[in-house]
């Protein structure tokens, strides 16, 4: 009798456990052990001093950079205007007024600067990509959702997708030699009908000459593949994407690894650990009941550590990845933590994605969602309590990568 009861209890524990993450997920959440060197750091090489015209803004919600020299910004309250600053002369350059009739949602989002006369941006509804010149004239518009239906191998697209905007760092990338546009995609709904979430794609390749989808790649990997029916907040579920020559890099805010793809075939070639040495473990994703409680989900979002985008620093032929540390839910006054003093780091990689350094930033000196890649480092804004006045552009700290120790 006792033996039977004992077995019953054991079986019962297994059957009734509340969605405990599986073993694979638990392993992936832990920081992988990786050989890392400490030969490089980033340091402030220059502080820009750009005066902002009275009608302009010191901070922008959408921004992009062109060849280390021009900064493009769109402010939420004037979202049909692209303000351009010259980072070399340290001055306001000009603004681009986009006619209201061109942008149905009145919001320019996901900026990508191919050249000053070839500016890409996205519109959320209907999902579109527009190309304009420096005068704001429309060069071309692509209604990417409509064209989605025309994809020849439509049966291979499992379910519906959205093209994320607003959350930053998910801009389109245009490959001018191939006339191909790469767009981040996010699956909508359960995707159960054609193999489920694991078979969805994260990057769509759009042929702008044919105005049609060419292919899709980047199925979820790592934590996102094995999270099952658990969830992270929306912005943490969407990958970052980078192209360098014939190689594509997909990274996730909630995954230690960097996933490296062949751009032609869309095949995953290999993955490489790109974790911060200051993160032992990423938190488990949340159950549905928790993620649906907006406040509980926001409280989770405030506290957890997460990775920022991966940048390529072309002059150095190196890579940098941003990491934001875990922080307490509330500040000393009992209010929800604004992230004012959040710690962070920049992880530095060599051309083969080996970790060769990590520089720590304290007291909010690494702004959240406020960094841009430079060929030799990062252009960065700090958290708002560092801002001195409303008339100075906050993206002013030029961090350069430098060697601090020769290889042994």
């Amino acid at each position: 009798m006792r033996k039977i009861l004992f077995k019953l209890i054991a079986v019962f524990f297994i059957l009734t456990s509340c969605n405990n993450p599986n073993e694979k997920l638990s392993i992936l959440l832990k920081s992988p052990e990786v050989d890392r060197e400490n030969r490089y750091e980033v340091y402030v090489s220059k502080k820009l001093n750009i005066t902002v015209p009275k009608t302009k803004f010191c901070e922008y919600h959408e921004f992009a950079i062109y060849r280390d020299s021009l900064f493009y910004g769109v402010h939420i309250t004037n979202s049909l205007n692209i303000d351009v600053y010259n980072l070399v002369n340290e001055s306001f350059a000009y603004d681009i007024k986009v006619p209201e009739y061109l942008v149905k949602t009145n919001k320019i989002m996901n900026l990508f600067i191919q050249t000053p006369d070839s500016i890409f941006f996205q519109e959320s509804f209907p999902p579109s990509v527009l190309i304009i010149n420096s005068k704001g004239d429309l060069i071309k518009r692509f209604n990417i959702e409509n064209d989605f239906e025309n994809f020849e191998n439509n049966a291979d697209i499992p379910g519906l997708y959205s093209f994320p905007t607003i959350i930053g760092y998910r801009d389109p990338i245009f490959n001018s030699s191939k006339n191909l546009l790469y767009l981040i995609m996010h699956p909508i709904g359960a995707h159960n009908s054609r193999g489920g979430y694991k078979n969805t794609y994260r990057v769509g390749v759009y042929d702008i000459e044919k105005a049609n989808w060419l292919s899709f790649f980047g199925r979820p990997e790592g934590i996102m593949k094995f999270k099952g029916k658990l969830f992270y907040n929306y912005d943490l579920s969407i990958p970052y994407f980078l192209i360098v020559n014939d190689t594509a890099f997909i990274t996730y805010p909630m995954d230690h690894y960097i996933y490296i793809y062949d751009i032609s075939s869309g095949e995953l070639i290999y993955k490489k650990a790109g974790n911060s040495q200051y993160c032992n473990k990423l938190p488990n994703p949340l159950k549905t009941s928790k993620i649906r409680d907006t406040q509980a989900a926001w409280n989770f979002r405030i506290q957890i550590p997460f990775y920022g985008p991966l940048f390529y620093n072309s002059k150095m032929n190196m890579f940098t990845r941003i990491f934001h540390f875990r922080q307490p839910l509330k500040d000393v006054n009992g209010k929800l933590n604004s992230g004012k003093n959040r710690k962070g780091s920049i992880i530095i990689f060599d051309k083969d994605m080996n970790i060769v350094g990590e520089t720590v930033f304290k007291n909010g000196s690494l702004g959240i969602l406020k960094s841009l890649p430079l060929s030799d480092g990062i252009l960065m804004a700090r958290q708002p309590h560092y801002w001195q006045s409303d008339d100075t552009l906050v993206y002013r700290y030029k961090y350069e990568i430098r060697l601090i120790k020769q290889s042994e």
Partner: protein, 159 residues
């Protein structure tokens, strides 16, 4: 009670507990009321533990989506309950809401949180909130999604 019975009770207990812990309770209590009180006190110097009057707070995000603003503005303009205190969060996404705000100010004492301070408190805000307070306690709460605007109107007009 012998040992076997004890084990049996333990097994039954094990059966019941997970069902409670894993189920999703669908109650209408305001689980972030403490956070809301803290928000009122810090932002508007209103202490609900001192002020025991009956009040109905209607928290509205001015930069919310257009349909949300439209539905909520319509019912607020129709309501005649003196106890309502609208709390307006942020700045309107469109100038055409300025007249609506003026009308609200003519009807009631309006609290304005232009700097979105509410997001630094645990209030559960994502949609408009209806919080009915009496004797310092929350007696009714509703997160007013677009589909619940009529329900909110019925509740408020029936008081």
């Amino acid at each position: 009670m012998n040992r076997q019975k004890l084990i049996l009770i333990f097994v039954i207990f094990l059966v019941i507990i997970p069902f409670y812990s894993c189920s999703h309770k669908n109650d209408t209590r305001y689980k972030y009321f403490e956070g809301f009180k803290f928000y009122l006190k810090s932002t508007f110097k209103m202490d609900l533990s001192v002020n025991k009057d009956e009040k109905i707070y209607y928290v509205l995000l001015l930069d919310g989506c257009e349909p949300c603003m439209k539905y909520n503005s319509e019912i607020l303009l129709e309501l005649k309950n003196d106890n309502i205190i609208p709390i307006l969060i942020g700045k309107p996404s469109n100038d055409r809401w300025n007249d609506f705000i003026k009308s609200l100010k003519k009807k009631w004492t309006v609290l304005e949180d232009v700097n979105n301070e509410i997001f630094f408190y645990e209030t559960g805000i994502s949609k408009p909130l209806l919080i009915h307070v009496e004797n310092g306690k929350c007696i009714f709460f509703m997160s007013v999604s677009d589909s619940k605007v009529n329900e909110a109107y019925n509740y408020l007009s029936g008081l």
